[in-house]
Every structure is written in structure tokens, then in C-alpha cells.
Amino acid sequence: MQIDMDEVLEILHRYPREKRHSLAIMQDLQHHFNYIPREGMEALAEYLECPLSSLYSMATFYRALSLKPKGKHIIKLCDGTACHIRGSVNLAGGIGRLLGIGAGETSADGLFSLELVNCLGSCALAPVMVVDDTYYGKVTLEKLPEILNKYREEAAG
């Protein structure tokens, strides 16, 4: 994928050239590109005049950041305690059977990435799944295909 450096630079220049803004800038890059492209990392190191290694360290430390491209839709399956004891692991298995992906993986068609995430703070609706920004509460194995098919149909046109 070709990265538009103007877009990268626009994001960088939203913030002053101080190391303390590195996390915020990386988050913005992540939001914009769905991952942090290497070009973005290198431009940021130059912009902040800091070693690339320190940014690489952060990008691999914080779970909100990813150095690999992600699918078009990001499925966040909550594995907080409340969801866990109400069966989130079974849902992960169910998604695996439907999409052929495990946690941290992207489906072959590039449509979905599955992330097993920490508590999303919606425990009363456990188990919870969030696709992009849409919350689905009290998800069951029965409901899964219906939810996911909506996104597939959308993509199919």
C-alpha cells in the first residue's frame, strides 16, 4: 500500500515537536491508517529528533498501536472477567470457525481483524463485542453469523 506522506506530515504537525506527544501522534497515525506505517514511524523519529528505537519500543508496548495493517473491520471481543465467565472464549472459537481467524489475525479477504481485548467496561451487557464503533451486547454463538454477515453483505455491495 502506498502511504501518502502529506497525510503523515499533516498528522505530525498537529502536535508540537516534543517527545511527550509521541504517543498521541502514533495514536492518530493508527486511527488514520488503521496501523502505523513504517514511513510514519521514520518521519516521526525525524520530527521529534528521537531514536527510531524508542518509538518502536512504544509501538510494540502499547496494545492500541499496531505495526501491521489490519482488516477493514476490527472486531474487538471483550475478554474482561465478566465477559469471560459469561463465555467470551466460546465466542472467540465461534468467530474462528466463521472467519478462520484467531485473536490478532486478519481474515484472508482483509475484511476482519479479531482482537481479544481487555474489559471494555460494558460488563452489564456481557459478553460484549465491538465491531468498529458499534457495540453488541449479550452476544451468543447463535447471533454471531447474523452480526458478521451484515458486514460481509455491505462489502459485497
Partner: protein
């Protein structure tokens, strides 16, 4: 009569479709326009805490509260309740006896609650500073501006307020230490990196009443002499980040924050820092490292942040809920606050009551209430009336408290002396179908991933504890494993660099202490008594009890269950993945578990 319709727009209700409900109210009201006999407006509020029953709609001043409201119900609410003040019975909550409940304060979930930190949530529109001011907001800040730092700290001291984020450190002491430092500049920071699985009170406060946190932080800044502050909020909490950002901008526009705080000439600049997704950043030195723009690795204390914190300067870090209590303390006085609670734990605490309990949600009650009160009176008991087994308090740093201790009063010191922890207030209720070994394994797995990996015992010790616990859950446990887990646990408690590691063994040590027989059943008999550990559990259907309702067959993800309607069903063990969906689906208790030979 004018009426206000309050539509809960917390994350829980939004997930249940409350935005559509609020929009529908607005659309119909606009449509009816000036013809309507009753003037009314729609207010989008923060989380009411009873998320499971959302979307929640309140009609004021009648104080009628509806649950599970759908868009199609909106017209009827307008016709009956708004126009005529009548109730729509089918949308009312039913109490334990099945009686409809009209007012919020009669609802068994809310009735025993004592709201301090959550006082405004659900009643005001969090995006309107005018609402907060109308509810008495920023009066405490005004009051504080007329006081000396020592006077402010004295009130906080009298209140007995202890940090709500975890360890329960006296809030005034942090303030006092930072106030005494000569170095400038100083900073204040709000810890909104709520990471405990099962806890969401901070999210609720930040979303539903952001100004109270800003006011608390501003008062802290006055007390210690800071002019800049940060709110570190989990990036996953999108609505909280947006509402706090809006609140800061509004407060600055109204001259409440910024270059001239309420005309006093004092300066206070607040900004939001979005968390990067690392549980360890809830630890204050890791959070500081993260705000500074590095990996969230804790550093040794002392020096404590109040002496040397953010950018090497004196810094006070307080949790969201702690700060939400500050305006109340300043307004009503520390003594009034201290009148509630127990000897060592003053005021109220917000708990996230979740798991296998009938009524789940956010609950604020005075410190010292018993677990039984919380779980049975407010929570309504265990789902499907199954037996209560344990409650996990305090998240990954906390412990599992068994049934015979249900009458323990909940406060900082009691929980700690029983190996658990108040933590941020997560209360995860478990029934006889929760495996305590698996729960311990779950927490250790969580912590092994969330450990920053800096110090040896946390990084390597958790890895080994996880290995052993996984072995036990999968039938490879050995004699001596329990002792080895205990040894490793004690090493972590003694030798880790930060609180994450030092408290990490608590879930393991408390489950060993209170549920040792379950560990032994796994190790010696290769049996999971709760029927949870997949490799140790096989499911079968009791033909006598099965009514052939087909619920299990529909719930089975692999099509392993067959049977005709009204005929006993059968599980094909070659297709069964032991997920337990059938057991959850069965209403006749016909699905049984039995041991299976482990690998």
C-alpha cells in the same frame, strides 16, 4: 406542566440503541411542535448504572423511569406520560415479587444506594456545563479559592477520603507532601486508565459527569500550587475522552478554567492524554512515564510522585472516583463526608456488580456494607437461583472471597486482611459453574500479558505460574504444584518492582486458600468440579430430565446435539467441543457434566 425526558446515553444504553430512542423523541416532539400542550425537552444523560436494562428513559418531574425502551415505544410515552402524566406499565421495572416499580428510588437496585460520586450522573447532560452549574457545580471551587491550601487539605484530611483507585492511600497525605515541596512547577493528574476487568465506574463518571472530575482536579491544583494538569483516559473509552475534552473547552470558555480561574487570577491548564492500552499504566509511575511519552514502565519508589513525578516535578495523581468526591467534601465539609462509612474507610464506594448476578450495574453504597447486602439485596441474588460460589473483588490484584464470608463488611482494611483488595471496586459474582482454578488462570494470563516485563519475578514468575495453572486446567497437574504456586506467589509479593507484580499472585493465593479442594480435584482426579475446563469435562444429557425442547440443539455451535422435538436429545461426543452452551441454554437442568480422560 413542562417535562424533561432524560434518555440515558452511556455506553451501555447506546449499545442497546438509546441514540435511536433519543432521536425519535426529538423527532416526534419537533413534529408535534407548538401544538403540544406540554412543553418538553430531551436530555441525553450519562450512565444510570443499570445498563443491563437499557435503554433507560426517565420522565421528570414525575420521576417515572422506563427500561428497555425501544423506538416504537416513544410515541406511547409521549401520549401517555408526557401529555397526561400516566405511566406505561409494560415499560416499568418489575421487582423481585413481580410488582411494577414506577419511581427510581423504589427500584430494589437503586433504593439502598447512597450517591455521592455518582450524584449527578443520569440527571444532567454531561456536555452542558450549564447543567452542572445548575446542580451546584463549581461552588466548591469558588469556596476553595477563598481558602488557603492548608485549609483545603485540612478538609480533605477530616473527610478521611482514601484513594479509590486501588491501594486506598489517604488522599490528603499525597496533597500535603506535594504542597510542601519547594520545586516548581507542580502538576496534578487524574488517573482514568481504568483497566481492571469488570470495573467501569471511572468510565461512567468521566462520561456522565466530567465537570465534577475537573472541579476536583482544580481544587487539588489550588491545594498544592499547580497550574497544569492532565487527565489520562483510556483511548478505548471514546465517549469519555470526547465528553471530558468538551468539558475542558466549555469550562475555559466560561472562565472557570484557563488563565483566570473564576476571576481569581489563578491559572490552570488541563488537557487530556489518551492512554495507549496498557493495564500497567494504572500504576502511577508507569502512568507518568506514559504521559512523558515513553513506554509505561514503572520506576522504583521512593521518590514518590508527590516529590518527584511528572517531568521530575512534584505531582499528585488521583483516581477519577476520588476526584469526584472532592467537590462534595469542600462544599459540605470534611466532617459531613466522614459521617458515612466505617472507622477506617469513610464515605461511599462505587462498585461494578457484574457476573452471574441477577441485577448487574454500578452501585454506590456506604463503605462497610456487607457482601450479602450488595449481592442479594441490590443484586437480587444469583442468576437462575444457582448457588453462590465466590465473589472476585479488586480485579487482577484482588482475591476471590467464598460463600462463608458473605457477611464481611466491604471496606479497604477488611478486604485486605482476607487476601483480597478493594481495588477499583469490581465485584464479579460467580456461581457453582465458575471454576476457581480457571479463574486464577484467567487472571494470571491477563497479568502475564499486561506485565511491562521490566523486573524478573513479574515477567518470569507469571510465565511459570501460568504454565503450571494451564497444566492443571488441562489435566497435566502434578503433586507439589499447589506448593510451588504458593512459593512463586510469595516471591512475587516480596520482590516485584511495582504494585502490579506484588499483588499479581492474589487471585491464585486466595483461590488456593479458599478452594483448595478444586485444585486437588483437577490435579489428582483430573476432574473439573464446575464443568468448565474443556479438556477435563464431557457433557451428556440426562434422558429422564430432557423434555426435548431443542434449546440445547439450537445453542450448540457445532451441531453435536440431535433429537426430535419432545424426545430426549443426545450429544455426539465426537463433535462436542465442551463449550457448555447447551448447559446454559437448558432450562430443565438436564445437561450434566462428567470427567473425561485428559491428554
Amino acid at each position: 406542566m413542562n417535562r424533561t425526558i432524560l434518555v440515558c446515553c452511556g455506553t451501555g444504553c447506546l449499545a442497546n440503541g438509546s441514540k435511536g430512542v433519543a432521536d425519535e423523541f426529538q423527532r416526534l416532539i419537533d413534529q408535534r411542535g407548538t401544538d403540544a400542550r406540554v412543553k418538553c425537552y430531551v436530555k441525553r444523560t450519562g450512565c444510570n448504572g443499570f445498563c443491563e436494562n437499557g435503554p433507560i428513559v426517565k420522565v421528570m418531574p414525575d420521576d417515572i423511569i422506563y427500561y428497555k425502551v425501544r423506538e416504537k415505544d416513544v410515541a406511547e410515552i409521549l401520549d401517555k406520560t408526557v401529555e397526561k402524566g400516566e405511566t406505561v406499565d409494560r415499560l416499568l421495572y418489575r421487582d423481585d415479587q413481580g410488582r411494577p416499580v414506577k419511581h427510581q428510588h423504589e427500584n430494589p437496585f437503586y433504593a439502598p444506594q447512597h450517591k455521592t460520586a455518582l450524584r449527578n450522573i443520569g440527571a444532567i447532560d454531561p456536555t452542558r456545563v450549564e447543567d452542572y452549574i445548575a446542580a451546584g457545580g463549581y461552588e466548591a471551587l469558588k469556596k476553595a479559592l477563598a481558602m488557603t491550601p492548608a485549609e483545603i487539605i485540612e478538609q480533605v484530611k477530616r473527610s478521611g477520603l482514601r484513594g479509590r483507585g486501588g491501594a486506598g492511600f489517604p488522599t490528603w497525605r499525597k496533597w500535603q507532601t506535594a504542597a510542601e515541596q519547594e520545586a516548581t512547577p507542580k502538576y496534578v493528574a487524574c488517573n482514568g486508565d481504568e483497566g481492571d476487568p469488570g470495573a467501569f465506574m471511572d468510565r461512567s463518571v468521566l462520561e456522565g459527569d466530567p465537570h465534577t472530575v475537573l472541579e476536583g482536579l482544580a481544587i487539588c491544583a489550588l491545594a498544592i500550587g499547580a497550574e497544569e494538569g492532565f487527565l489520562y483516559i483510556r483511548d478505548e473509552y471514546g465517549l469519555a475522552v470526547r465528553n471530558v475534552t468538551t468539558a475542558i473547552a466549555d469550562a475555559e470558555r466560561h472562565g472557570i478554567l484557563g488563565d483566570d480561574v473564576l476571576g481569581s487570577g489563578r491559572r490552570l491548564k488541563l488537557s487530556v492524554v489518551r492512554g495507549g492500552g496498557a493495564f500497567v499504566c494504572g500504576e502511577e509511575t508507569a502512568l507518568i512515564a506514559s504521559i512523558e511519552g515513553s513506554c509505561g514502565e514503572p520506576r522504583p519508589r521512593p521518590p514518590f510522585p508527590a516529590v518527584k513525578g511528572l517531568f521530575g516535578q512534584p505531582t499528585v495523581l488521583n483516581n477519577v472516583e476520588t476526584l469526584a468526591n472532592i467537590p462534595v467534601i469542600l462544599k459540605d465539609g470534611g466532617d459531613a463526608f466522614a459521617a458515612v462509612g466505617t472507622e477506617g474507610s469513610k464515605g461511599t464506594k462505587v462498585f461494578a456488580l457484574v457476573g452471574k448476578v441477577k441485577r448487574t450495574g454500578l452501585v454506590e453504597i456506604p463503605m462497610g456494607a456487607t457482601l450479602r447486602h450488595l449481592i442479594y439485596d441490590i443484586g437480587g441474588g444469583i442468576q437462575n437461583d444457582r448457588p453462590f460460589k465466590a465473589v472476585q473483588t479488586g480485579g487482577p490484584s484482588g482475591g476471590c472471597i467464598p460463600a462463608h464470608m458473605l457477611d464481611l463488611p466491604v471496606d479497604f482494611d477488611t478486604l485486605k486482611s482476607h487476601g483480597a483488595m478493594m481495588g477499583s471496586g469490581g465485584m464479579i459474582v460467580m456461581d457453582d459453574r465458575s471454576c476457581m482454578v480457571e479463574v486464577a488462570r484467567y487472571y494470571i494470563n491477563f497479568l502475564a500479558e499486561e506485565s511491562c516485563g521490566k523486573c524478573t519475578p513479574c515477567r518470569e514468575g507469571l510465565r511459570k505460574m501460568l504454565e503450571i495453572l494451564t497444566d492443571i486446567c488441562e489435566g497435566r497437574g502434578q503433586e507439589g504444584d499447589i506448593q510451588l504456586l504458593e512459593q512463586l506467589g510469595h516471591t512475587l509479593q516480596d520482590s516485584c518492582l511495582c504494585a502490579l507484580g506484588k499483588t499479581a499472585p492474589n487471585p491464585v493465593l486466595t483461590t488456593i486458600q479458599y478452594f483448595r479442594d478444586e485444585y486437588e480435584a483437577h490435579i489428582r482426579e483430573h476432574r473439573c468440579p464446575a464443568g468448565v475446563c474443556v479438556k477435563l469435562t464431557a457433557f451428556r444429557i440426562d434422558a429422564d430430565r430432557c423434555r426435548g425442547c431443542t434449546a440445547c440443539a439450537r445453542a450448540c455451535p457445532t451441531g453435536a446435539i440431535t433429537g426430535a422435538v419432545k424426545q430426549p436429545h443426545v450429544i455426539d461426543s465426537s463433535k462436542c467441543i465442551s463449550c457448555g452452551s447447551c448447559r446454559e441454554a437448558c432450562r430443565f437442568d438436564a445437561v450434566e457434566t462428567e470427567g473425561r480422560d485428559a491428554v
